[in-house]
């Protein structure tokens, strides 16, 4: 049978580049899975639906795809949308027993989704922002040069979570570090970050932590370069589409990211996918959550011997599977993936440990540290209502 997954993310508007890249990634992996029979005789089909970046539109799309017979949806670009979908999926499943759908979350990382708002029908294949912050601060704690930190983020659920976690965790791990300022700016609207940079500079910060992504990150880093801000950037999303190009040489040695993968990892695992993807789409493969989703789903349907969501959900809970970053596990209590995390720095490619460049800039990510699953693991407050 065909497992039809509806990909509900922005395919038009300002966030389309990221949305399109991840859709391509999904389809590339699905093709691969189908060719290599990951799920036995079952096939995957990932169909893109444009939610125009809007919460309300996502709910419309959800209704449409349900109507079209999709039983699996996946979404990730924007925790705001994610929370709304989560809610809608819950309601749908409650009102339509026997016709349940599953929400495969590939990137919406607001911790609430696996804590206070956790749901049986939601599985997150990205580490949540607290986990990433845990990893990041662990890495930072070792760096004695860090004295003054400035936090800047987009003003929405994810950005707010990053700010909160950064303050909390740094206070715990390095009470001597001073938080010299924090800012939340409107998402996707700021064109000129120089005032923020001036502020950061005036604060005397040597380190900046930011959850910004897309143009918001690119512009921030560019402004920092223009004003000759000599601070290091610890980011979440410097590897996503568009940022490397905008960042260029300006970010070398100064920008780091925390994420679930780096193409320049110790064994270059996923090498063939990166190359094959680049050949096919002239673009970089970085969203390995797509790989994790398809791999986990393949294993789950085989285990469940059915593609029926109600059964697959049971199989997915607590599932151990292999992804490009190693051995991963879908934790049963909150449906939050447990996986290793990477911290990497933006440097010139050198053909040795930094083979793959990004967006043809001649620069790529050098792995600083791989952090094991358990380090970043977080307790969950989830009280999951399971059907039946």
């Amino acid at each position: 049978d065909t497992i039809k997954i509806a990909y509900i993310d922005p395919l038009s508007g300002p966030f389309a580049p990221v949305g399109q890249n991840i859709l391509n990634s999904y389809q590339y992996i699905a093709d691969k899975a189908n060719a290599d029979k990951w799920a036995g005789e079952h096939k995957f089909e990932v169909v893109g639906f444009d939610n125009k970046g809007s919460t309300q539109e996502s709910l419309n799309v959800l209704k449409t795809v349900i109507d079209k017979g999709f039983r699996y949806i996946t979404q990730g670009n924007g925790s705001g949308v994610g929370l709304a979908l989560l809610d809608a999926v819950n309601k749908h499943n409650e009102r339509n027993p026997g016709k349940e759908i599953i929400y495969l979350n590939h990137a919406a990382v607001d911790p609430d989704m696996t804590n206070s708002k956790c749901s049986y029908w939601h599985f997150r294949f990205d580490s949540n922002s607290d986990m990433k912050m845990e990893a990041l601060t662990t890495f930072m704690a070792a760096d004695k040069n860090i004295k003054k930190v400035y936090i800047i983020g987009q003003n929405y659920s994810f950005g707010q979570q990053v700010t909160r976690a950064a303050k909390e965790y740094l206070a715990r791990k390095r009470p001597d570090i001073q938080i010299v300022g924090d800012d939340l700016h409107p998402i996707g609207q700021v064109k000129d970050f120089s005032p923020y940079v001036a502020k950061i500079k005036a604060s005397g910060a040597d380190t900046v932590i930011t959850g910004n992504w897309g143009a918001d990150l690119a512009l921030l880093i560019k402004s920092a370069k223009d004003a000759d801000l000599k601070a290091n950037f610890y980011t979440y999303y410097a590897a996503t589409t568009g940022v490397p190009t905008a960042m260029g040489a300006a970010g070398v040695d100064r920008v780091k990211y925390v994420g679930y993968w780096n193409p320049n990892n110790e064994t270059f695992s996923g090498k063939d996918i990166v190359e094959g993807f680049k050949n096919k789409y002239k673009d970089d493969y970085y969203a390995i959550a797509t790989y994790s989703v398809i791999a986990a789903m393949s294993q789950a349907v085989k285990q469940a011997k059915s593609i029926e969501p109600a059964k697959v959900a049971v199989a997915l809970e607590g599932l151990n599977f292999k992804s490009l970053n190693g051995d991963d596990m879908m934790r049963k209590v909150d449906h939050q993936i447990q996986q290793p995390l990477y911290i990497a720095t933006w440097v010139k490619t050198n053909g040795k440990d930094v083979k793959f460049d990004q967006e043809n800039t001649g620069m790529g990510w050098k792995t600083n540290q791989k952090i094991d699953s358990f380090v970043a693991s977080q307790p969950s407050s989830c009280q999951m209502k399971r059907p039946g």
């Binding site: 923020y196 001036a198 512009l219 560019k222 004003a227 260029g248």
Partner: protein, 315 residues
């Protein structure tokens, strides 16, 4: 001190970019009465053309060619689109440009894709212009300011030294009569619209690499330039200039100020706790309300001075 000066400079240079955009809009709006909703789209076209040209033959030719191409496109839009809508009045004209903005974004994505294009600052202008205390002021920002000022001067000369402005204003209300007096009104309209678009294109050439050239760049700047035009006074170029600087500086400073009513009260020795009524309102910092300031200014201006800062006529 360093902070204040740098922020002021940043504000002024941002304001001048706004002016480059709004001057074209003002020109079109005041002369033809058309609220060109697609204006920011022409700005985007300017950036993309500049990118395409600079990849082939370099930045300096692009600086000249891209605005010309955009201006030509604008003139064509006027000739084959707006002109036939003109007779129905201003609302359909406005809506026409509104629809156009949709189409332009799509076409841009069709040609250049949905992601950011690498449109770099030319090497000759890359680098610091001067250093103020410890902060460097980029040369390119200086260049932007220079272009904006040159533009202001040349528009001013064009409008005061020629009769074109009069013809257009008159043609706004009585096109037939102006034509009967021997003026080729349609051509003048076409030139004005093309010219206005070319100005937006020029802003795109210098703004596109200062910031980012991507399909969303039009949408983000779209509404702020309307604020500028209205606050300055519809049809007043000087007004647009003042308003651009005002809004540029206002926005730049606002994001930098973390003061709220709570901090104000604490100056007077009163401390307000989170449990106080209206705390969420009182604790909003100026930086947090920064996004609404331009619009607040717009609404206040329209209520108390509907003509705008330097405008001469209402509506």
């Amino acid at each position: 001190m360093e902070f204040t000066l740098i922020t002021l400079l940043n504000g002024v240079s941002y304001g001048l970019l706004l002016f480059m955009l709004s001057s074209g809009l003002t020109l079109i709006f005041s002369m033809m009465g058309v609220l060109n909703f697609a204006h920011a789209s022409f700005y985007m076209l300017g950036a993309y053309f500049a990118y395409a040209i600079s990849v082939k033959i370099g930045f300096w030719p692009a600086l000249v060619l891209a605005p010309l191409v955009v201006g030509f496109l604008g003139a064509m839009v006027e000739r084959y689109g707006l002109r036939s809508v003109h007779k129905y009045g201003h609302i359909p004209e406005l809506l026409f440009t509104f629809g156009l903005s949709y189409v332009i974004v799509e076409l841009v994505q069709l040609i250049w894709g949905r992601s950011t294009v690498p449109y770099p600052i030319p090497a000759a202008l890359d680098g610091p212009l001067f250093t103020l205390y410890t902060t460097t002021f980029p040369m390119y920002r200086g260049f932007m300011m220079l272009v904006a000022l040159l533009m202001l001067a040349s528009i001013y000369l064009l409008l005061t030294r020629t009769r074109i402005g009069l013809v257009i204003q008159a043609a706004l209300t009585h096109p037939d009569t102006v034509e009967a007096l021997g003026h080729n009104v349609p051509r003048v309209f076409m030139l004005v619209f093309g010219g206005g678009c070319a100005l937006a294109g020029l802003a795109g050439v210098v703004g596109g690499n200062a910031f980012v050239t991507e399909p969303g760049m039009a949408a983000t700047l779209g509404s702020i330039i309307f604020v500028v035009v209205v606050v300055g006074g519809m049809g007043s170029l000087a007004g647009a200039f003042v308003a651009s600087l005002l809004i540029g500086v206002l926005q730049t400073f606002a994001v930098a100020l973390d003061y709220s009513f709570v901090s104000l009260f604490s100056v007077f020795g009163m401390s307000i706790t989170a449990s106080a009524p209206g705390y969420s309102l009182l604790s909003l910092t100026i930086a947090q309300v920064a996004p609404i300031l331009p619009y607040l200014l717009l609404v206040l201006i329209l209520i108390f001075r509907p003509r705008g800062l330097l405008g001469t006529r209402e509506g």
